[in-house]
């Protein structure tokens, strides 16, 4: 793929990306941070990258931005090769634990980073008030960043990432140090960005945040993408438990479910039972319903149990060898 940037290209396209660090006195020890990572982020979606500490999430972001050089594979950002300076013009980045020089105020920091992004001072002055309002720092623009709390610094970091109205925002732990109210406000900002057609690439430990705002996620562990997809796809389980509210005699019910993994059978009224059956897959679930109906048992209610994203994450990450919990 060339460096041209047609509009239909994915916002982020990563193909078999590898990064190996050299460590030790003479650089003889090799540490593989990324082991052939492949995924895509489409334009206009909010994409979450999940993974325990040391999974390679920040390395991946740094490779995309050109802060770290890739060892093998390819990556493109808005259609341009990762690291290409022109590709970064339309990208806003909020690093984890960022440091804004202490001699700045909120206003001067935005002027500085805006100028680095190529904006004129007039344009920065025009955009700055509304942006500070958006991130909740309207009254703090003239205040030295020395007096900012961690959460305020995060908000200012988000503001500088949004200042030049980028097409793609890469946010590394954006809610780190932000209070619950602030997180809620930040979620609203992300939703607004999505409405505006922006692409957001989110890296966070907070799975609930991801679950609330992301369209799709990828789970990275030990430098490998374990799963990638929509939230619903990750949280649904093919071997789920089926919950029934059945109307019929207990004997018939037990007869119909004789070949199944019956987990629970509780009477809730005359010939009315709450039943939980564990099935291996969808075909088994269908057969279970057929068997109940053949015994002329009425199915008054039926539901399939789902996992939370956290359960899914732990399940996926825990299944891999040498897992490191987040």
């Amino acid at each position: 793929m060339q460096s041209a940037a047609p509009a239909e290209t994915p916002a982020i396209d990563v193909q078999a990306l590898r990064k190996t660090y050299r460590d030790g006195l003479l650089g003889r020890r090799r540490v593989e941070a990324l082991k052939g990572v492949t995924f895509q982020v489409q334009r206009g979606e909010i994409f979450g990258l999940l993974g325990p500490n040391g999974a390679g999430k920040t390395t991946l972001i740094k490779v995309l931005l050109g802060v770290v050089r890739r060892s093998e594979g390819q990556a493109w950002l808005l259609g341009r090769t990762a690291g290409d300076r022109r590709g970064r013009i339309r990208v806003g980045y909020l690093p984890e634990n960022h440091r804004i020089p202490r001699h700045h105020t909120g206003n001067s920091a935005l002027s500085y980073y805006g100028s680095l992004s190529g904006l004129s001072r007039a344009e920065i002055r025009r955009r700055r008030p509304a942006l500070l309002e958006t991130v909740g720092l309207a009254k703090w623009g003239a205040t030295s960043v020395r007096k900012y709390s961690k959460g305020m610094l995060q908000r200012l970091g988000l503001a500088q990432a949004m200042l030049h109205e980028p097409d793609l925002l890469i946010l590394d732990e954006p809610t780190d140090g932000v209070d619950p109210l602030g997180r809620s406000e930040m979620r609203a900002v992300l939703q607004q960005l999505k409405k505006d057609g922006k692409t957001v690439f989110l890296n966070s430990h907070l799975l609930q945040e991801i679950e609330l705002v992301c369209d799709r996620v990828a789970i990275l562990n030990h430098g490998e993408v374990l799963r990638e997809g929509r939230i619903a796809e990750l949280t649904s389980r093919p071997d789920a438990e089926l919950q029934f509210l059945l109307l019929g005699s207990e004997a018939r019910i037990r007869a119909a479910l004789a070949g199944y993994d019956l987990r629970q059978l509780t009477g809730t009224g005359p010939d009315q039972f709450q039943v939980v059956v564990r099935v291996a897959d969808q075909a088994a679930a269908d057969r279970c319903v057929d068997d109940l109906r053949r015994q002329e048992i009425s199915i008054a209610g039926m539901s399939r149990s789902r996992q939370t994203l956290e359960e899914a994450f732990l399940s996926i990450v825990g299944a891999t060898p040498q897992a490191t919990q987040a």
Binding site: Y21, K62, L65, G66, V67, V68, R69, R85, R86, R88, I89, V91, Y93, P95, E96, N97, H98, R99, I100, P101, H103, H104, S108, Y112, Y113, S115, L116, S117, G118, S120, G157, Q160, I170
Partner: protein, 764 residues
């Protein structure tokens, strides 16, 4: 470009937000404010005191007799302007004073009357004062225009003119004294130093201040306060934010480096600019080139800051950065100091600064004042004419006056020299004896009669008679050169007395020249050329053991110089690097070469027939001119470098000393090398030439940027080690001005280049 300008602008903002900057600026401001009230005023004797008239009767007699004469003279002018009472006083003055009381009254009357005249702008009339030689101070005042001078300066000029006109009757007043003051208070007593010396002293002090305070202390302080800039920029959280923007890594590094320099620019510009203004406003020293010290010190800082930046970007730690930068400074200092020590103690003292072909032998004088003889068999220089004590002469640290000569007396086959003794204090200064060395006595040192005080040049005429040229007159030796003075002890103090009737006697009219002066003997014509920087005299032998002034001409400007006179060739080389050719018949300027600005000549020699003229400059360059073909000539055979002495012999042969101890002999007519005399290097010399010097050459030399500061402040390309600053023949240390600039520039480029490559390839 906008992102990089933003980084530089941000560095300025960062600097302005720094308390360290404001503390340094406040300290600098306090220093300048404390210095600003310091000033200097000039106090010069103008009006005559009665005691200034040393011989009132003789003065009155001269004024009366010459005043009434129609011939133009200062006395005539004074008599013309004098009032009738004064004229009556002069008329009534007896030929001899009758009593001390009468004599005292005459002193008072003369002083009063002359003081009245000293206030008149028309006292000095060029036609009447034509025969009077004014000194430098008077000439300087005259150049300003007498009509424009304030009253006290006019009185000073008239006093000086009066002194010059009646040198035996009126005592010379001291030079103008300078009084330092602070606000309205005088600081100390007036100092009897000339304004030029004061300016030179202030420049030296300023140089010292800039070197130690700004160059050493300021630079180290600046390194400490700026060491955090680069590590802070490249630490995690800051650099990835910066690199996520569409910027180039090397340019981020370079603009941050420039930003750090901007921090220091503010302080340096404030301090040097303030000093410059004070020098101009308070001391009248107008030296715009001093402002060039601002970029120069910035460059000095940039060299250290380059190292600090490179280490800062690699280790991302300000303390490591400071420690390594100071270590770098120490290594540079050690290499430079080792080289300087070896040069001062071993290399420079051996440098040949005078070549004396003495019949079949070749003698040379090295910078430590030792006379050496070339031993062809062992191929080495061995010392001759050693003091009787057998001790070596001390290395020139400025205490002794230097050697006059030696010159070879072909007639008597001997060399003659005057070895000025260590400077002694008090009235019983033992005069320097004439030294004689003869080949028959293995060039053993023989002491002869005392040389005249103030001898600047020693010459030998065609009959082997030594001539000593002093600012007051030319002296010739009457009697034998080997007549030793017999000292007599009076109360334990040794008084020199002449022995055997041999002594130097005046052989010319009073010359009234200034020092330093240069003289050259044209043996074929029995004529002497003497030059003191302004006056050029030709003295011709009158056949009665005396020399008369044949031509006395004055050049337009004062510039110390050297003169060479042989055959029909008369050349003058001056301290501004120019060489002038004069016609010996009338001292008309025939030709002038501007060879190298501000490179002073060290030696000027002409071949006995006058065909060849050779000059050696303090920057180690040789200039050779063929007057017959009127072309500049380059001696045959390559490899001449750092030339330190030259001489031309009877047989049109050129002897050049270079490479410290090597003497090469050329046949100028044939254009070929006849012989090279070079001793083998000692171990320590080999260490210097093959280890220390190469290392020093490739190593950066931040400390030597001081050479450029010295040049900017003083305009000198070399500095004297000892003796008078204007004495051209004195040992001077050549100042390498541009070498350190290019060397440091190359080093800075390499360091920043490595930094850029590192930053480009580094995973942050």
């Amino acid at each position: 470009m906008r992102p990089y300008l933003a980084i530089i602008r941000d560095s300025f903002d960062e600097a302005l937000a720094s308390r360290v900057l404001w503390i340094l600026i406040i300290l600098s401001t306090l220093f300048l404010a404390a210095l600003a009230p310091l000033g200097v005023s000039e106090q010069a004797d103008a009006l005559l005191r009665p005691s200034d008239i040393t011989d009132a009767t003789a003065l009155a007699k001269k004024l009366k007799s010459r005043g009434q004469n129609k011939r133009p003279s200062p006395a005539r002018r004074i008599f013309e302007l004098a009032g009738e009472d004064f004229k009556r006083t002069l008329a009534a003055t007896p030929a001899k004073s009758k009593s001390p009381a009468d004599d005292g009254a005459l002193h008072n009357q003369l002083a009063d009357e002359l003081n009245t005249l000293l206030q008149r702008a028309d006292l000095f009339d060029e036609s009447d004062w034509k025969s009077v030689h004014l000194d430098q101070e008077a000439k300087g005042l005259l150049d300003q225009g007498l009509g424009k001078l304030p009253p006290e300066r006019l009185e000073r000029f008239n006093r000086l003119a009066l002194e010059a006109a009646f040198p035996k009757e009126i005592a010379r007043s001291g030079p103008p004294r300078l009084q330092f003051y602070y606000l309205a208070w005088d600081v100390g007593s007036p100092m009897a130093i000339q304004r030029d010396d004061l300016v030179a002293g202030i420049k030296q002090a300023l140089h010292f201040f800039l070197y130690f305070v700004l160059g050493v202390g300021g630079t180290l302080a600046a390194i400490v306060v700026t060491a955090w800039i680069i590590p802070q920029t490249f630490e995690p959280g800051a650099i990835d934010l910066l690199l996520s923007k569409p910027v180039s890594r090397p340019l981020v590094f370079l603009t941050k480096f420039v930003g750090g320099c901007a921090f220091i620019t503010l302080i340096v510009a404030w301090l040097i600019g303030g000093l410059w203004l004070i020098l101009w406003a308070r001391f009248g020293i107008w030296n715009p080139r001093m402002l060039l010290c601002i970029p120069l010190y910035l460059f000095l800082f940039a060299i250290y800051y380059g190292v600090s930046s490179l280490t800062g970007v690699i280790w991302k730690n300000a303390i490591v950065s400071v420690v390594l930068t100071i270590l770098f400074w120490f290594v540079c200092f050690s290499v430079g100091t080792t080289k300087d020590l070896l040069e001062t103690a071993v290399i420079n003292p051996q440098r040949i600064v005078k070549i004396v072909p003495a019949g079949g032998a070749l003698l040379a004088v090295n910078e430590s004042g030792k006379v050496e003889r070339w031993q062809a068999t062992s191929r080495e220089w061995d010392q001759v004419m050693m003091p009787e004590t057998g001790g070596n002469r001390p290395i020139a640290f400025g205490l002794f006056g230097g050697m006059v000569g030696p010159v070879y007396d072909a007639h008597e086959q001997r060399i003659l020299a005057i070895d000025k003794p260590l400077q002694q204090f008090g009235p019983m200064n033992r005069p320097a004896p004439l030294l004689i060395g003869k080949p028959g006595q293995d060039w053993r040192r023989i002491e002869g009669p005392a040389a005249p005080a103030g001898t600047e040049v020693l010459l030998v005429d065609s009959q082997g008679t030594p001539l000593a040229v002093t600012p007051s007159a030319v002296f010739r030796l009457k009697g034998s050169v080997e007549a030793k003075p017999q000292p007599v002890k009076v109360m334990g103090i040794e008084l020199p007395l002449e022995g055997d009737g041999s002594k130097f006697v005046e052989a010319s009219p009073p010359l009234q020249m200034s020092t330093p002066l240069s003289a050259s003997m044209n043996a074929a014509k029995s004529e002497l050329a003497v030059f003191d920087g302004r006056r050029l005299l030709l003295l011709a032998a009158d056949g009665q053991e005396k020399y008369r002034v044949r031509i006395d001409t004055e050049l337009n400007d004062y510039l110390p110089g050297l003169v060479a006179y042989a055959g029909q060739t008369l050349f003058v080389a001056r301290s501004d690097g120019s060489v002038q050719q004069y016609d010996p018949a009338d001292l008309r300027l025939e030709h002038e070469w501007t060879l190298k600005k501000n490179s002073a000549p060290r030696f000027l020699a002409a071949s006995p027939d006058g065909r060849w003229v050779a000059a050696v400059f303090h920057d180690g360059r040789l200039w050779l001119y063929d007057t017959q073909k009127q072309v500049e000539v380059s001696p045959a055979g390559a490899g001449l470098h750092d030339v330190s002495a030259v001489t031309l012999t009877d047989s049109n042969r050129l002897l050049v000393a270079d490479d410290n101890t090597r003497v090469t002999e050329y046949d100028l007519a044939a254009g070929k090398v006849l012989e090279r005399r070079q001793p083998a290097r000692s171990t320590i010399e080999a260490l210097y030439y093959y280890a220390i010097k190469p290392v020093y050459t490739v190593f950066p030399k931040p400390g030597e940027l001081d050479n450029m500061v010295h040049y900017l402040l003083t305009d000198e390309t070399s500095v004297p080690v000892a003796g008078k600053r204007q004495a051209l023949g004195a040992t001077r240390v050549r100042v390498d001005i541009w070498g350190p600039v290019w060397s440091n520039l190359a080093f800075l480029a390499v360091v920043l280049g490595i930094g850029c490559v590192y930053v480009s390839r580094k995973d942050f």
